[in-house]
Subunit: 317 residues, 2 copies
């Protein structure tokens, strides 16, 4: 693995054609926004390029690919965006594992699986893509602005989270000048809830459990609860426990099978979520991370609380 | 009433001393952020200046005035910020009504009650204050950045709503460069909910009523429900009805007495909330407005639905 600069990445991409852009599994606004921004831009520059994802893309993201048909070619250059680890390619790993030419990412935990890595620990991968497109002198039109804004907006919780920087706002200002409908995007990403989701949310909040004198809150989603809504809407549950006054660490436990859980962790600025998850073989960012666990719910909660207690003893950093 | 430019307003303020800044009743982040930004800045420039508000200021806004004591002087210049109508001064109207020297506002509906009016229809009054402080060559330090950011962030729903512009983001970027803790402000303004509020929210959502094939949603808050929480947290209820899929107009009815209601209206880009409220003697912005009503809930809902139907027949503008 070679670390490269944005200038080098721009030069390499300009010299390539027949490019396939890979996103991570369970795709979110940043991996998709980044991939489609690159795809729209390079197509406008006359290149053949497609986007691939192991999982189905939620309907609410369909505007990112609007008007885009898959092109017919044999890929000669594989680019991964916002993918911290080859494992996160899902089923695509079987085909492209070990042969990723370039990765563009903002996760400090990137495993360096790609031949060349452009890594900057900024709020969203889409911020790196914006810089790259400027260096490539790509035209930033309304569609590309929508894609980049979606990445930044979703990864920063619409500019709320502590990862937001002056640069995030500065790029947003530049994108707004293209006149795209950011408010329809924000409504799609952050506001609209189905009646089914509202019911799930009520159930989840009613069943919230508190530990460590209210400093930890836990929501548990059973398989039945999760089956009642569009899977992509589940990401809106993860921030809820941390919204309760006094809660410093929020867990959302998704009970995918009787004794198998996927866990989302959200923390305030004084606790490192990725360290809490590392003890379970997971990872992510400082304020938002994830892991899985096989065992009973009681065992899981016992271990999570221990991990939080340990992390609470660390100096704030 | 004389309309003045930001340059003229800056010159006038620089020439004044012993200033009292008035905010609107039921003070929100924009009126308070604007007032305290001016107050901090002019005090740093050696002037005597205080802020006054008819109603108690919620605890969550206390950081805006941190370290600030009331100064002892007889006001010689009265400035109102973010106050569209003298009526909105609440009890302060009795003292200062008819003698407001200058008003700085962003409401198109401003009644022109002040001697001089600086009006720009931007997202937040705090955006005008930022421009004014630059013109006055005031130092934009961390505390002033907090005040201005609070105004912009609260009035744009943290950069989500359709009133957000490139300028809103550009100012935010500039403010972020001072290094203030925007994420703690955003957590205070948008995230933290007390357990009591969570319960109220659940009850409100469970009781939501739908009209016009789900295009209108109505939440009703009884006096008992409202008494269970900090009054300042009630503003978080108003956006909820509009979040439901398919809802184009959301009403929140606050039943302050048996037959007396205060109504908050939230609409999408195709409906004008201020026009709906105008029929009830109220007003506000295109997407967020308010009014009051004396009568039964059934009468009120009947009239609100008629007003929405009428507004739905208007061409989109």
């Amino acid at each position: 693995m070679n670390r490269i600069t944005a200038e080098e990445a721009a030069k390499i991409l300009l010299g390539q054609d027949d490019i396939l852009v890979l996103t991570h599994r369970s795709p979110d606004g940043d991996t998709l926004g980044s991939a489609y921004a690159v795809c729209h831009a390079l197509r406008r520059m006359g290149k053949r390029i497609n986007v691939a994802c192991a999982d189905e893309i939620a309907e609410k993201y369909s505007y990112l690919a609007a008007g885009m048909q898959d092109m017919d070619f044999e890929p000669r250059f594989i680019l991964a965006v916002d993918v911290a680890d080859e494992k996160l390619l899902g089923n695509l790993r079987k085909i492209y594992g070990g042969s990723i030419d370039m990765c563009i990412d903002h996760h400090g935990s990137n495993t360096g699986y790609a031949d060349k890595l452009l890594l900057k620990e900024v709020a969203a991968c889409a911020e790196i893509i914006y810089e790259l497109l400027l260096l490539m002198k790509a035209p930033i039109d309304v569609k590309i602005a929508e894609c980049i804004y979606t990445g930044i907006s979703t990864d920063t919780g619409c500019f709320r989270y502590s990862n937001t920087t002056a640069q995030s706002h500065y790029i947003a200002a530049k994108l707004m000048e293209t006149g795209f409908n950011y408010f329809i995007i924000n409504r799609l990403m952050f506001e609209i809830k189905s009646k089914e989701f509202l019911q799930l949310e009520q159930k989840a909040i009613a069943g919230m459990e508190y530990y460590l004198d209210g400093r930890v809150a836990v929501i548990t989603l059973t398989k039945e609860m999760m089956d009642s809504v569009d899977p992509s809407s589940l990401e809106y549950i993860a921030p809820l426990p941390r919204q309760v006054e006094g809660v410093r660490c929020g867990f959302t436990l998704k009970q995918v099978e009787e004794n198998h859980f996927r866990i989302s962790v959200r923390t305030g600025h004084e606790l490192d979520a990725s360290k809490i998850c590392a003890g379970f073989g997971g990872g992510g960012h400082k304020r938002a991370a994830g892991c899985s666990f096989t065992g009973t719910k009681d065992e899981l909660i016992g271990r999570l609380i221990k991990a939080v207690e340990k992390e609470m003893q660390q100096p704030i950093g």
